[in-house]
Each structure stands twice: as structure tokens, then as C-alpha cells.
């Protein structure tokens, strides 16, 4: 065997990767009889044991562990929630079919369905209203978005950057200290009015304001998910986070405004507008999500 191959076989010998007893004995003999091989053996085994004994292993921080467990829990809940509506729909369908096979309860079923439709169209889903009703607090994203939107309408909060080119807006966000990639959607009906960078616990956050030909205002607040899960710069309720993880988007109406929230490409978006919510869904959200 070539000496160079033999020297590399010392590495295999040190690592216990030589399975042939004969070959193992041959390498052992080389180490015992040759100073060069002995040196190579000492280097290979010496470095290996040095790393095994002295390498200072760091530990994953408690915070990292907690964040992972929290994210896993959210994932489990999201999976569970995504399963639930399917089960419910099947039951409802089965019940409806069941009712229609018996003429007497058919009318009651139809009336029930009618009232459910009326309720949903008028008030939205009660669960979502319940979720949004609980979004309060100094660092709550929805609460902040509500305040900002109100300030935009009153003229208290004015755009810091009025260019309408999405790339220039992205550059503005970047140079102003926003550390995450931003999305600047464009839409025929909604024209970009300007952009704002705000500060929250030392982190810079991105906001964009749009306006319509009718003078309606649409405000978009986008924040990287890590600012909720890892850095805790902002928060939303646990229920809302679960809903964001399982639903395409969430919709809610209050005081003449509509609020949309969704999670996309690792960011959480909150949109508030005094415009028509259906137009926003079809013209704006449809191209985004």
C-alpha cells in the first residue's frame, strides 16, 4: 500500500473505522515501528481526544428553547384548528341531508340555515369578533394599527416618504432601519400616498398608506413574525396568532372601518381602511395572498 494511503488509514484507525482485524493489526504495527507513523497517529488521536475532552460546548439558551416550544405549540394548535372546520362542515351537510329526508323538520332546518346566513352576513363570524375584541395593549399590533389609522385620518400622522415607486419605498424602509424585507403591493384603485417608519422598543417598523379616488384611506402595517415570537417587540393575543396560522386571512369590521390581518412570507400584516371591504378583498388582498 502507498505510504500516503497508509497515513490516511491512521485516521480511519483512530476513528475505529477499520473493520478488518488484519488491516488493523498492520496499521498498529506501522505505528509502533515507524516514528513518522507514530507522530501522525499522535496528531490524529491527540486532536480527536482534545476536542472530545476540551471543546467547550455551548447550550441552547432557555429563551430559544421556550420560543421553539411556543412555536411548536402554535403549530399543533394551527393543525388542530385547520382540521376542525372540515369536520363541522361534514356534520352540517350530513344533518341537512338528514333533515331533508324527513319533511317535518325540513322547514326548521331551512329557517335555521337562513338565520345563520343572516347572522354571518350582518355581524361577521362571532369567533373573529371575539378575537379582535381582545386585541388591546401598548404593544399590541392591532391596537397600534387602530391608533395609527386614527392619527392618519386626523392628519396627526403624516407620511415621511411620499415616493410611490415600490422599490424606492423598500429602499426607504431599509435605509431607515427596517431590518426585514418589506412588501409594497400595487393596485389600480388604491394609490400609494406615502410611507412611515415607526420605532417600537428600538426596532424600526414599516407602514404604508394608500388612498382611493373617492378619498378613502387604506393603511398597511407589516412586521416580521420574529418581532412577535422571538424579539417580543409587538404582540397579539394567542388566539389571534393561532387564527393567523390557520386562516388565509381574518376580517373584522368596527366603527365604519374594516380590519384585515394575515400572515404571509414570514410577516404579519394588518390592514385598516374606511373603504369598501369587499373591494379591498377582491382588488387588493386577492393579488397579495
Amino acid at each position: 500500500m502507498e505510504p500516503q494511503v497508509d497515513i490516511k488509514n491512521i485516521t480511519s484507525y483512530v476513528d475505529g473505522e477499520i473493520t478488518s482485524l488484519e488491516e488493523s493489526l498492520r496499521i498498529k504495527n506501522l505505528i509502533e515501528t515507524s516514528a513518522e507513523f507514530k507522530f501522525e497517529y499522535e496528531v490524529q488521536s491527540g486532536v480527536k481526544s482534545l476536542l472530545q475532552e476540551r471543546f467547550s460546548s455551548g447550550c441552547a439558551s432557555f429563551e430559544l428553547r421556550e420560543n421553539i416550544l411556543k412555536s411548536l405549540r402554535a403549530e399543533v394548535n394551527a393543525i388542530e384548528q385547520s382540521k376542525k372546520p372540515v369536520v363541522k362542515k361534514t356534520n352540517i351537510l350530513e344533518n341537512i341531508i338528514g333533515f331533508f329526508t324527513h319533511p317535518v323538520p325540513a322547514l326548521a332546518a331551512l329557517a335555521g340555515i337562513f338565520f345563520i346566513f343572516i347572522y354571518f352576513f350582518t355581524f361577521g363570524t362571532p369567533e373573529r369578533s371575539f378575537i379582535f375584541d381582545r386585541e388591546h395593549g401598548e404593544y399590541n399590533m392591532v391596537e397600534r394599527a387602530r391608533e395609527n389609522f386614527s392619527k392618519i385620518l386626523s392628519g396627526e400622522l403624516k407620511p415621511q416618504f411620499t415616493e410611490v415607486n415600490p422599490q424606492q419605498i423598500k429602499n426607504f424602509f431599509k435605509t431607515s432601519g427596517v431590518k426585514y424585507e418589506t412588501v409594497i403591493p400595487e393596485c389600480k384603485y388604491w394609490k400609494i400616498l406615502g410611507s412611515v417608519v415607526s420605532d417600537c422598543k428600538g426596532e424600526k417598523l414599516a407602514h404604508t398608506v394608500y388612498t382611493s379616488p373617492k378619498g378613502e384611506v387604506m393603511y398597511l402595517f407589516q412586521v416580521d413574525e420574529k418581532y412577535f415570537t422571538k424579539y417580543k417587540t409587538l404582540d397579539v393575543s394567542e388566539d389571534l396568532m393561532h387564527a393567523l396560522n390557520s386562516e388565509k386571512y381574518l376580517k373584522f369590521s368596527e366603527n365604519g372601518t374594516c380590519i384585515f390581518m394575515w400572515k404571509h412570507t414570514g410577516k404579519i400584516f394588518t390592514l385598516i381602511s374606511n373603504g369598501n371591504s369587499e373591494t379591498i378583498e377582491t382588488d387588493f388582498l386577492a393579488q397579495l395572498i
Binding site: I7, K8, I10, T11, S12, D15, E17, A35, E36, K38, F39, E42, V43, Q44, G46, V47, K48, S49, L50, L51, Q52, R54, F55, S56, S57, G58, C59, A60, S61, L64, R65, N67, I68, L69, S71, L72, R73, E75, V76, N77, I79, E80, K83, K226, K230
Partner: protein, 200 residues
């Protein structure tokens, strides 16, 4: 933790989570150490580990029970690292292997002549010196030496991990240890723990 999950979830999902907690979570320190050595930054390592665990959980139902979970997690980590984190990582300066080889041969000639024991040279080095020496190794060599000497993976597992033949793993490991030895020897020499050989 598990109790909170169990309250609202189906038994299958609860079991999946329980299995994941038992099988995957104990390897977090090993993964973190590897991520830290590869990225060179604790925040980036944190993100990489979080991504790795979320991806692993999503695919945990595909994980074959009884196989090596640690190796499976390391493969997920490696893919995430290559796809999303490598470009962000601080890479060490390029190493001129010929320079290292010459220095190594120089030491070897002297040490063989004096029958000096290799182990003695590094006993006074600090753990941080060792850690820094690993960090400055080129990525290919750093990977194999961490996986072999610190994490205890076999050549076959490392070969699968780095996607190259076992012979290449052995060759990289051989050179990685020589490089590390040379670097540590230089540290020891600079600190006066061994006599200077560089001008011999």
C-alpha cells in the same frame, strides 16, 4: 407543556408532539453547537435552530422511528443552512493549505527528532483557543471535524450528511486534524508553551 397541548388536540397529534418532544428536543444543544460553529453568530444560530425544529416537526410523521433522529435533524439543519443562512454567515479567511502543510511538516520533522509527545503541547491552551481554532477552519473541514470528533457521527453518517464518498470524509478529516494541530501549535508557540519551530 404537554398538558396544554392535550387539552385541545386529537390523540394522534398529541402523540406526535410527545414523540417529537422525546426524540428531537434532546438534540437541541448538539444542533445549536453545530449551528453556532457554522454561522459564527449566536442570533443566526438561534434562528437556524428554530427553523430546523419547525421544519422537523412538519415532517416528523415521515421520520422513520428507530432510525437516527440526531442525524435526521442534522440533515434538516444542513439544508436550511445551505439554503437560507450560508450567505449570511461569517466565513473565515481563505486558508492556504500549502502553507499549513509546510508548517506541519516542519513541526513533524522536529518533533520526531526529539521524540516529543504531541499531547503535551496543548495541555495549557485555553478552551477558547480550541474553539476559535475550529471556527477558523474552512467550512468543509470544520463540518467533518465537528460531526466526527464532537458529535460522534460515523464516516457513513457524515458522508450522507455532506453528500460525498466515505474516502473524501476520511481525507477531509485527516487534513482537518492536521490543520487544527498546526493552528493550535501556533497558538501554543505564541504563548510560549512550546519552543518555536517556525524558523528552524
Amino acid at each position: 407543556m404537554l398538558q396544554k397541548i392535550e387539552e385541545n388536540t386529537s390523540p394522534d397529534l398529541t402523540q406526535l408532539y410527545k414523540d417529537f418532544e422525546e426524540e428531537a428536543l434532546p438534540h437541541m444543544d448538539a444542533l445549536y453547537n453545530f449551528a453556532l460553529k457554522m454561522t459564527g453568530d449566536s442570533d443566526t444560530a438561534d434562528d437556524l435552530i428554530q427553523d430546523t425544529y419547525m421544519k422537523a416537526f412538519k415532517f416528523f410523521d415521515k421520520f422513520e422511528k428507530g432510525t437516527n433522529c440526531k442525524a435526521w435533524l442534522f440533515r434538516i439543519l444542513k439544508n436550511s443552512y445551505i439554503n437560507d443562512y450560508r450567505k449570511l454567515s461569517k466565513q473565515p479567511d481563505k486558508v492556504d493549505y500549502d502553507d499549513i502543510e509546510n508548517f506541519y511538516e516542519n513541526i513533524k520533522a522536529t518533533e520526531i527528532k526529539t521524540s516529543h509527545l504531541v499531547d503535551d503541547d496543548f495541555s495549557r491552551l485555553m478552551d477558547d483557543d480550541i474553539s476559535e481554532a475550529i471556527t477558523t477552519l474552512p467550512e468543509d473541514f470544520r463540518t467533518v471535524i465537528i460531526l466526527s470528533d464532537i458529535e460522534g457521527f460515523t464516516y457513513e453518517e457524515i458522508a450522507e450528511f455532506v453528500d460525498c464518498p466515505i474516502g473524501t470524509v476520511r481525507s477531509r478529516l485527516h487534513r482537518a486534524r492536521k490543520m487544527l494541530y498546526t493552528k493550535l501549535y501556533k497558538y501554543a508557540e505564541d504563548k510560549g508553551y512550546v519552543k518555536s519551530n517556525s524558523n528552524d
